[in-house]
Assembly symmetry: C2
Homo-oligomer: 556 residues x 2
């Protein structure tokens, strides 16, 4: 098999932050056997994907080759790594999903909710245990991050060893889970590592990262000063942070109540899988109602300002019967992801109107990042000591900067974005092929392509409004009465101080009165002309060119 090659192909997560999905392959060209590491989602926004429920990587390339897919590995249970695990049933037909216990627990819930068999998800213990999948032997190495049981993957192939960092930070005192263990990584590096695929999220953060263990003191001081109820939010999956917050509250003599489905689900998963011990006793929302507010702390979902989560609902008035009021405190123990600022700021102001004091992480006291900063990335490069570094999980600017960092250590790197198949078999990474990749939208209950125009039409209606024109033509292609117009999302009255719809109807009627038989008989031509007139008249009257639907009914 001298023609066999080892390839790496990001289908998501490279050139963006979110929806991680990385293929590794080994074998002769076009006969490679594959494994997939992570299968995540990313979240829609009003700017680019209004009305969309979830954004998934386009997996069609892999689905076409699913007979050669030997296993799926999930590094950790963040939605951008696990979120799409049950969204592509075709991939799961003959392919097991491997993860550590906590991650596997959550993966099974997703698989079950999708009506699939949870047995396809298999729990793997930490390195040195390994799983064999086709030509690969794969192990899960515990690594610190902002969720329990995150793992870096050691992927051995006939072409040598690859390390896939997963999302990670260097935290030697992580509160929950295993501390970062240099010794293990040194051992893994010993036989020689061909390539390190490495998290790039924080490559622009120039200071060394901080440990979770730096927070409890600050948070305890904050809580002990608080006079009213204390409410804190963070990512539900940040179990260590939840523990830190709950313990600080407990020491301040407060009862703890979890609000929001995701919050309870995560704590349950962490307890069930044994990663969380000694979490203070939790009371139900009903019981919380009878606890004096100065003796209560709520841990709530919605750190990113999500409109339906507990924090947004508390900010609007009430959640599970609980209301906030003057003298209470609300703590954002989380970073605001770019793009979510408006939602978070809205909540801050709503609380301000109630007289609630809002504390955020801007001072750096109440949050630490889950990703390795630039000096920590350097440490990881040095520990794993790979021949080449392929940055992953980052926007283009992060990947590019990370390649520069690798270069500072005289390691070969390459900026590989989604769809770039990289051949790792040689002395340096090279582009083997360009694969068509993209995004799939879960829109309501249907998966649609990001580029098939459906969402583009919605964006256009949002920007331009919509006009419907109905026209009835009789058996001889003569208009029966006047055309009818209806508008949605447009000013009713424009420059002429007359109803826009009436002006449109009059102008379209005039056009039809003058139109040739040929035009009237030709649906396409007629539609084109009517649209042109609607847009022109609307532009004159209200300064907008609406989207137009023309409905021509011909009486047979």
């Amino acid at each position: 098999m001298s023609s066999a090659r080892l390839i790496y192909l990001p289908l998501g997560g490279a050139g963006e932050i979110g929806m991680n999905a990385y293929v590794y392959g080994y074998g002769p060209q076009d006969q490679e056997r594959y494994i997939l590491v992570d299968i995540g989602v990313t979240f829609p926004d009003m700017d680019g994907s209004p009305g969309v429920d979830l954004i998934l990587p386009d997996m069609s390339w892999l689905i076409e080759r699913r007979d050669r897919l030997d296993a799926i590995f999930i590094t950790h249970a963040h939605e951008d790594h696990i979120g799409a695990v049950a969204r592509f049933p075709e991939l799961l037909e003959d392919t097991p999903v491997y993860a550590r216990a906590f991650t596997a627990h959550l993966a099974r819930l997703k698989v079950e909710e999708a009506g699939l068999d949870p047995k396809i998800v298999r729990t793997v213990s930490a390195w040195p245990e390994t799983v064999t999948a086709g030509p690969f032997t794969v192990g899960f190495v515990p690594i610190s991050h902002s969720i329990p049981e995150s793992a870096g993957m050691v992927i051995d192939s006939p072409e040598g060893r690859v390390v896939h960092s997963g999302d990670f930070k260097i935290d030697r005192t992580p509160v929950v889970g295993e501390p970062f263990d240099e010794e293990v990584w040194r051992e893994i590096a010993k036989p020689g590592v061909r390539a390190l695929m490495c998290d790039s999220t924080n490559v622009f953060s120039r200071k060394e990262g901080r440990s979770e263990a730096e927070l409890p003191g600050e948070i305890e001081a904050l809580f002990s000063d608080a006079k009213g109820m204390v409410v804190a939010t963070t990512f539900a999956s940040n179990v260590a942070r939840l523990k830190t917050l709950a313990e600080a509250a407990d020491r301040a003599g407060r009862s703890i109540c979890l609000l929001g489905r995701a919050m309870r689900r995560m704590i349950e998963a962490a307890v069930a899988t044994g990663v969380l011990h000694g979490f203070p006793k939790v009371i139900s929302p009903e019981d919380a109602l009878s606890v004096p507010r100065e003796n209560l702390m709520l841990l709530v979902t919605g750190s990113q300002g999500e409109r339906r989560a507990a924090s947004a609902q508390l900010a609007r008035g009430k959640f599970n019967g609980i209301t906030m009021k003057e003298g209470d405190m609300f703590l954002f123990s989380s970073k605001t992801i770019p793009g979510n600022e408006r939602g978070v700021i809205r909540i801050m102001n709503q609380f301000s109107e109630m007289g609630v004091d809002v504390v955020d992480e801007s001072a750096g006291f109440y949050h630490v990042s889950g990703h390795a900063n630039r000096p920590d990335l350097k440490t990881m490069h040095d520990l794993v000591d790979p021949q080449m570094v392929v940055p992953m999980h980052g926007e283009h600017r992060h990947l590019r900067e990370h390649v520069k960092l690798a270069g500072e250590g005289r390691r070969k790197g390459i900026v590989a974005v989604n769809g770039m198949m990289i051949d790792l078999s040689g002395n340096e990474p090279t582009v083997a092929e360009y694969i068509e990749t993209g995004r799939t939208y879960l829109d309501g209950s249907i998966q649609i392509g990001a580029l098939d125009g459906i969402v583009r039409d919605r964006i256009r209606m949002a920007l331009n409004g919509h006009v419907t024109v109905t026209l009835i033509l009789d058996e001889r292609d003569e208009p029966l009465g006047e055309p009818w117009c209806e508008s949605m999302g447009l000013a009713e009255v424009g420059r002429s101080r007359v109803s826009l719809v009436e002006i449109l109807e009059a102008d379209l009627g005039q056009f039809l009165g003058r139109a040739s038989e040929k035009t009237l008989a030709d649906d396409d031509k007629l539609e084109q002309e009517l649209k042109r007139i609607v847009r022109k008249v609307s532009q004159d009257e209200i300064g907008k060119k609406p989207e137009v639907t023309i409905i021509t009914s011909r009486l047979a």
Copy 2:
């Protein structure tokens, strides 16, 4: 006139950042004479105001009372203070607009563009010159900010002196314009100040603000290291920053070229009004094409990622014939306003793909804020030494925090948001009345109300898609053929793997076949039923409930 009172009424800018518009009044209740300080705009976004061109304060309260409006004063030429100056012609019929020379120059351009007489804008020199407007005597006190000739207003009334800070920072070495002058403010404070209306934007920034003069060294070092073309962006109105950037480039032996209409307009205004001296020679974009890139610096518009501005166009490929390439540098010498992150990040990644090095202000070397930080606000309180502090220009959380800060200095304060008319005549600020305020949208060429449902309908179409149903009924109210459906922004095929539109038409046809004569004769009832069916069937098929337009044509 013992019943006369001095009132303050924010119509915009209090409880939000943007669209500043503050009314002051003096006289017996409901006979007060008014002045307006600032008349700004705010910018729309896809989340809340898709397709809208500009957001203006709802000025109807003041328009109804325009016979009692004696003058409009503009503190400075930022769009959120001056932007709506020509948008309410009713206000300008008998009312002069006063501003300092640079601001007046730009106000006249706006007034002229709107087809109004630029003579209504009158230039006022700096304090101690004053203008009399009804019962008020008003002076413009130079104060440092991020645009030339910013002013704080001294407003004298029979009830005493009020200071309206405008947007300001304490900068004793501002590069362009007058340094912050404590002595002037001490003089102004001497007769006693009843109230200070004070900028609140940076109340959460705990460190003292930094001076514009701290930047040139850092920027020069950055430029002197650059190998290729250098491009820098900041707000076009930040003339001091433009000068700093241009001088650094000039010293590095680079020719300077301004790209973007706003950039040229601002520099021209600053030169024409004498606020800018010694700006290095500028070359045209055509000439720039023949300058070696290592000898060129562009100053470009679009620091907030605006899609049509020069930086976004350079990031997409070309602007005025100029392209960027590997080895060039792009500097964001500006803060990203919350909500604009996505646009800015998009540009950063586009440049990264070209191999352009992007430098931003995150290290704090290449940007300083134009607003007073918390300690600087304290300094201003102490200098002006008012009886009461009324925070303005801030979201609710900023105003609330600023009242707390005033309380630390044992000064009375009040959180006054848009529409709260505050009586300043007593010993402490009290709410006199609540006025209905809001936002007006410039939508195309028409002003529409923010709450009149037009934009809400557009948002709904963006989230839910749209279906049009056309139905023809004959003279006896019997359906003529089947109903027709057209969808926009929806998946074409759903759960049943058949065209959604065909399923809708079949189900609507069935309903019509069974519908009673009474239902068929009743337009409202019919519409309601058809909509219900469209939503239900769509929900079943594709998991979305679209907006629906029903068009019923009855043949007479």
